[in-house]
Symmetry: D2
Subunit: 308 residues, 4 copies
Amino acid sequence: MALPEEFHAIAERVNNWGRWGADDEIGTLNLITDEVVRAAVREVRTGRRVPLALPLRQDGVQTGMIPGRIDPLHAMVQINQELFGPGTVACSDDAVTMGLQAGTHWDALTHVSHSGKLYNGRPAQTVTAHGGAEFSGIDKVRHLVSRGVLLDVARARGVDRLAGGHAVTPEDLESAEEFAGTRVRTGDIVLVRTGQVRVLLAGDRHGYGYPSPGLSVRCPEWFHARGVAAVANDTLTFEVFPPEIENLWLPVHALHLVEMGMLQGQNWNLEELSTACGETGRYTFLLSAMPEPFVGATGTPVAPVAIL
Amino acid sequence: MALPEEFHAIAERVNNWGRWGADDEIGTLNLITDEVVRAAVREVRTGRRVPLALPLRQDGVQTGMIPGRIDPLHAMVQINQELFGPGTVACSDDAVTMGLQAGTHWDALTHVSHSGKLYNGRPAQTVTAHGGAEFSGIDKVRHLVSRGVLLDVARARGVDRLAGGHAVTPEDLESAEEFAGTRVRTGDIVLVRTGQVRVLLAGDRHGYGYPSPGLSVRCPEWFHARGVAAVANDTLTFEVFPPEIENLWLPVHALHLVEMGMLQGQNWNLEELSTACGETGRYTFLLSAMPEPFVGATGTPVAPVAIL
Amino acid sequence: MALPEEFHAIAERVNNWGRWGADDEIGTLNLITDEVVRAAVREVRTGRRVPLALPLRQDGVQTGMIPGRIDPLHAMVQINQELFGPGTVACSDDAVTMGLQAGTHWDALTHVSHSGKLYNGRPAQTVTAHGGAEFSGIDKVRHLVSRGVLLDVARARGVDRLAGGHAVTPEDLESAEEFAGTRVRTGDIVLVRTGQVRVLLAGDRHGYGYPSPGLSVRCPEWFHARGVAAVANDTLTFEVFPPEIENLWLPVHALHLVEMGMLQGQNWNLEELSTACGETGRYTFLLSAMPEPFVGATGTPVAPVAIL
Amino acid sequence: MALPEEFHAIAERVNNWGRWGADDEIGTLNLITDEVVRAAVREVRTGRRVPLALPLRQDGVQTGMIPGRIDPLHAMVQINQELFGPGTVACSDDAVTMGLQAGTHWDALTHVSHSGKLYNGRPAQTVTAHGGAEFSGIDKVRHLVSRGVLLDVARARGVDRLAGGHAVTPEDLESAEEFAGTRVRTGDIVLVRTGQVRVLLAGDRHGYGYPSPGLSVRCPEWFHARGVAAVANDTLTFEVFPPEIENLWLPVHALHLVEMGMLQGQNWNLEELSTACGETGRYTFLLSAMPEPFVGATGTPVAPVAIL
């Protein structure tokens, strides 16, 4: 079953292959220039820092529905061990096993392929078990700091959370932008709040994943037009689920990661940030959201922090 | 074998137990106030971002000498898998197993205990295999952004790296401060460069670990006096190794983590930062170094970024 | 809350501490002598082999209720990788992370302690994160082959499976013995079939674990009297769950593992064996059920095979 | 670079594709019939059991040279945890991460492919990160018990171990057979002792792996002619290393696993068995060597036991 014509039409309009050279591995992150960062820094007013990651724990986000994507298993390899003899300073060490996409994470550009291709036209087969992604592994992202903009779609619509299955449209984004009193610009990292993570925080993991509000297939063009560097939201699936177009699964993933070369973030907890922005009426801030540099990885846990 | 009197005398002078209340779990991070962060942001001049983490890979930092502390094992659980049927968008997912202290990391306050105690006087037994650290797990650190100061001891002494076994003293720190033309102040995160990571980058893992330059047992008092929030350096052992005082192992760990309640970072790659600071002559910057919020963990990988 | 007097009374009657010397680490496995094995071999009639392990897979036995006990995560580290150059023989390698008690397993004698003690009177504190169990780790079991006897309690009672909460008593065991036309003797490995694993095989993991039929607190004395070397059954909890005596949790574990020094097996699939034995009317066989020699481990996956 | 003509000529002579039907997934294990097992059982004389597995530990066999194949990391998730309240029976649980081919193991038939094919002509692409091997995963082996024959090539030649690089030939096998006073027959599991594991046991992991004695490319035809069901030895590489024919890497793997569909075992410790057989002059026994049923796995740890 091929992807529908509609998908390919959008793909053509947002495609960035070659835009930053044939060797490029980071896509729209190229839009975050030193100048963009200097301007981002000027957004800081109070110095308040708001963390956006969910806790990493065995009893976390996953339900077992996605094969292999396990929540962190934390285990101890040393507990108060007097490694240098009785009465000496004692050490505790721990180890963890986890799916790199299990909690609050960035998808690397290689997290999906379509029609046999990855970002910048590279063959899908360059992702192997032997070292992971040869190109555009998450370790190729050297830094990820820019202006963050919270598009609080839920709050702008006056609800705690959008209904499951609500497709967030460009019109929703623009209403949220207007509500925020700002305008998304080149190099921004856009955080789209649906409120869906409240389902998870209330203890309903299955309900969190499905049905879920999320981005419409129409959003990538909007992000493309605005020159957005990266987008994250507070859902498991990122895009609306079930999908808008029958049998067209994960089109937003394919458009962002493969066509545009734009990182996506999922399972971000935007609740505290929403409250903080709501209090001041300012929805822009400095955002630091560094990937862990797992070599060849197709995703990474991230502990983002907004500096208001 | 008890810890020597000399150790206890220093411990008494730097002890912070109760300073931020009996319930406190984050120690000197309390010194990073909103005001400190606002001032830190003003250090940004160029917008250049310098990453400070080593790549996370199986062929990483560890030699197998520290039991259980394994370099990341990266493995694939999906590769271009058409989860929704033939011709659909295809997904790649990966999983990792690693020691939380294996690469560029922060020690949590619970990483060591001495005399049966952890930071703030809690019993060492509150670290268990069942959930890890009940108190002061790394997840208790909600954010870690402040002014960073590079004390480039190697460069200040005109060498590429300090000799193995060189104990970095408060006098070394003050010379580096003078060289940097700045003064360490309350809430700063201090990065002490020895240049030792060059041994690792040159491919000699064993030589990197031992013998190693590192902090002298006299440094904690200096950090205490200056109100430093956290300290990191570019070595495996953090403190000088072998130790200065025979049979007194890891005294700096015990003073920082247990007595002061101050986070320590190890295996930070400060080479690019040293070059960047050397070019401009400015050794202060905004530093974001968020822990991954592993619940109950005694350490965490971190991908710090300096914003110059 | 101390353990009740009733427990201690049984404990005294079944205690084997010192029976095989103060240094012994394998308990009742000492009862399997060369002579016992020679006799066991004589039980083989048809040469038919029946496997007793459940498949090891991510979608396995566990529900997440037991912290840290995760089903196997299987991941690839090489897939058809031509490690020696294009066109050469290609290799596939995999890695796994799992709880050692997650699937069909043996509990090591150190899997539980009570009143601060392990088998043979050793302190519970000899189990640490640094190397696991200093004594009686599963690697101390060098071999585990003996006569197996299926006590098919369910079949003897004419049911597919015992009801959840049914406590299997010594009288049940004797009825099953009579039904089998054999008598349990010194060095035997006894397999007690409740039929409960049918709940799991039918897809109900939660129902499998609770409520569950299982051994009564009165069984250990029976096994002790008969000189049984090891016991396994087809349940998650091994003993009846919820327990027979209010607030007395896991008494059978404590009696078998700590007091008697007798290995226990759980999650064994006895369905095919039940059918095979039912066909021939013979319930004795040669059983090989080797632990994997994980050093210091408190349990191990096992793939037992009955040779009929 | 294609495989040489010489390889293909042998391949043609030993090929078993279709021999047990197009659907077969276990190859030469089909040769172990009930009758073979009944005869195998008759080999038991003393009842002595000899374990053949190396301990599973972090400080194990691997050197880090084979990417992703890590020795077991053992970690604790519960230590004497009173899960049901203070004073109750306390539990210890552990978890492990390991390469399935790291220690004493069986290669599954899918461990290698050549020319894009697996055993029975299946495409190599049926091994994926999503579930591993679709066909001939190690879980397809339901039982593995048969007569074992120790071909003690080292002892037959009067040496402790064969020299590194010594290719064990069919002539060597026949001399060892004669020395053993037996004849390898259909359904046997053949254990070839080189003595190389003594290098490992003496603490030299690198020397153990390379250079290594091992099977010559001429052996598969001999095993084929005799109807051998499976072969294991006491080396890391199984076949002689470096290889006999320049640039022909792992030909024996390809012939055994792909062409013949015959399991191979590596890193078996045959030292105690050699001594035991040497004492009695009998080199045949009952062998139980059950794989752990990891679903879709291309290998498995195994704890074989010989019953003499």
